[in-house]
Amino acid sequence: MNVFTSLLAGLVFGIGLIVSGMADPAKVLGFLDLAGAWDPSLAFVMAGAILVGVLAFYVAGRRARTFLGGELKLPTARQIDRRLVLGSLTFGVGWGLAGFCPGPALVALGLGETKALVFVAAMLVGMGLFEGLERRLAR
């Protein structure tokens, strides 16, 4: 897989997060605070991303390989199960607690924010804990 296009996509994604305001936890929490002074901006971020995304995934769905000739791997899971719901609820609680989801936290880390470093470190520990549990359960 192309490392250069991957890096470029990461940069474009990160610029999108900064431009949209999502890299600022206060802005994200302003969206999640329905009962307070609600800032609907984040809905527009989703709308803009999905507008482009729908087109891209429509094209991707009709192709067997990428435009660079590589393997095109789309998710195949279809079941809506406890894992999906409980995992997403857990993520949502963490998101509401600090206003960080994974992407914006990585960008804020790049800005040199100590608090983002603490969040990312804890997030990696959480991911590691999950990996460990998965491996133990799979045995």
Binding site: F13, G48, I50, A56, G87, F91, G94, P102, M123, F130
Partner: protein
């Protein structure tokens, strides 16, 4: 519900969203993968041959974004009000939850909804719902 018109930034939100969509488009059409940040990052903890470099490159792109940004514009000033304990708890929950639920705001929220995946719609409703309830409890019940 009161809308904070003074904080509302529809145009920059939309423009940033379009850029995020373009990044997701590049990722699937050139690299053949879903630009799901928790999945890309989490996969590094289960390294497989030939499956590491592109992940590191994507994450490096995100972390290096501010370096590129600062060449052309002022430093963004994120406001991180959460205390240290809350940050650690939030990080752990986000780490475990996104891996257990197979995705976050980017993988389920942006890519999944763009693919019209019912699974991702359920995930997005679940994490947004949990986010709304958490902020409600913190700000309006506990008064934190």
């Amino acid at each position: 519900m009161t809308i904070a018109w003074n904080l509302f930034t529809p145009w920059s939100a939309l423009a940033g969203g379009v850029l995020i969509g373009v990044a997701a488009a590049m990722f699937v059409l050139l690299n053949g993968r879903i630009a799901g940040i928790s999945g890309v990052l989490g996969g590094l903890l289960r390294p497989a041959a030939g499956d590491v470099a592109w992940r590191i490159a994507f994450v490096a792109g995100l972390v290096a974004t501010p370096l590129l940004w600062l060449l052309f514009a002022d430093r963004p000033q994120p406001t991180i009000d959460a205390g240290w304990g809350a940050l650690v708890a939030a990080g752990l929950l986000v780490g475990i939850g996104t891996r257990y639920g197979s995705g976050c705001t980017s993988g389920h929220g942006v890519c999944g909804l763009s693919r019209l995946s019912p699974r991702s719609l359920v995930a997005t409703l679940a994490f947004m719902g949990a986010g709304f309830v958490t902020v409600y409890l913190l700000r309006h019940v506990l008064g934190a």
